[in-house]
Symmetry: C2
Subunit: 222 residues, 2 copies
Amino acid sequence: MLQIYDKLLELPLFLGIGMDDLTHIVEATKFEFIKLRAGKTVVSENQPCEQLYFLMDGILNMETRADDNSYTMTEEMKAPAVLQPERLFGLRRHYSKSFRTKTTCGLLSIEKSELLKLLDEHFIFRLNYYNLLCTRTQRAGGMPWRRTGEQPRDKFTRFVSDRSDRPAGRKELCITMQQLANAINESRLNTSRMLHDLHAHDLIRLYRSKVIIPHLEKLVQA
Amino acid sequence: MLQIYDKLLELPLFLGIGMDDLTHIVEATKFEFIKLRAGKTVVSENQPCEQLYFLMDGILNMETRADDNSYTMTEEMKAPAVLQPERLFGLRRHYSKSFRTKTTCGLLSIEKSELLKLLDEHFIFRLNYYNLLCTRTQRAGGMPWRRTGEQPRDKFTRFVSDRSDRPAGRKELCITMQQLANAINESRLNTSRMLHDLHAHDLIRLYRSKVIIPHLEKLVQA
């Protein structure tokens, strides 16, 4: 039991909740604990968001598809984390990304009705939710105003960063050379040269219609 | 008094609040009503967000500066509206935009401590705040994934849309031709041709280091 307490306290919405409240929450809330082997789907894009999933253990692959289906990007999500908490309310109450287990994963799920009770009854929980949503809005809203470098490499790094939840870690881009060239507004030749140069410097791995960035933070700093 | 009630009910955070709750709110909450002539500053960029301002009447100019100071964009905000509600919590608790009155404006201000009380005591108010924040996060988070056109005109329209709170209305861009060309990744010549063409079609007005888009919705549809 103590282990669950410790795990919960690491999650973004439970930070700072006192032991008394936590005991009450664990007793009064319907949690579902889920254990999944690698390669299983947790959430599919466009599925209604009627619960909140917390990743307690393991690594998830989070895939986002461009609106016109021309490319996808897959990011790793490591525990502890919460899956798209901004999809519970607002205009679009369905997940916009797909989540699949990369390793064996431990997840905790809470139904929206249970979550509303937690939000109503616990000030810290509520404050954590405000902070989480506000920080996400601030980050996303600030992106267009950042400085853009003019070199193909800057534009590529920006392209990946703008589409990343986390400005570090592994990202996998499924895109053709031509589509990437269009997206970053460079010629196909310049794009190809830039990618091969990054490959030579061990900052990306290059495959047919696929670019893997093992550590985005290294690419950003390079 | 009835007039205040009607006005409040139009505001994004008060939508759907019952008459009983509203009476209680008006009696128990410290509001400040502010009337300002045209040309006055309501909020300056980087000012700590320790209150929420609601625009009840009139038009505000909302100015955002690029991180590297190379350009600014000014958008009109019409009543009823709320000024940057996502800056009350989260990592960055200061306004990121400046707000100045364009016409005589009526504003309502609520201190953060009073607002926390409203959020604690009224479920609908809280739900409205969740909805507001989630919708903003969803909109901002979805932007990078939209389709980009490849013509200079598409890129210019996208540049303005990505930086707009509202996808319609008047926007004023203070930017040199060269900075805009860099920002949208086109040559100075192509950028100039594109802007003069839009000007000829009455979709923008062109000045030295300034572009005015009278109706963004017309530019988007053109």
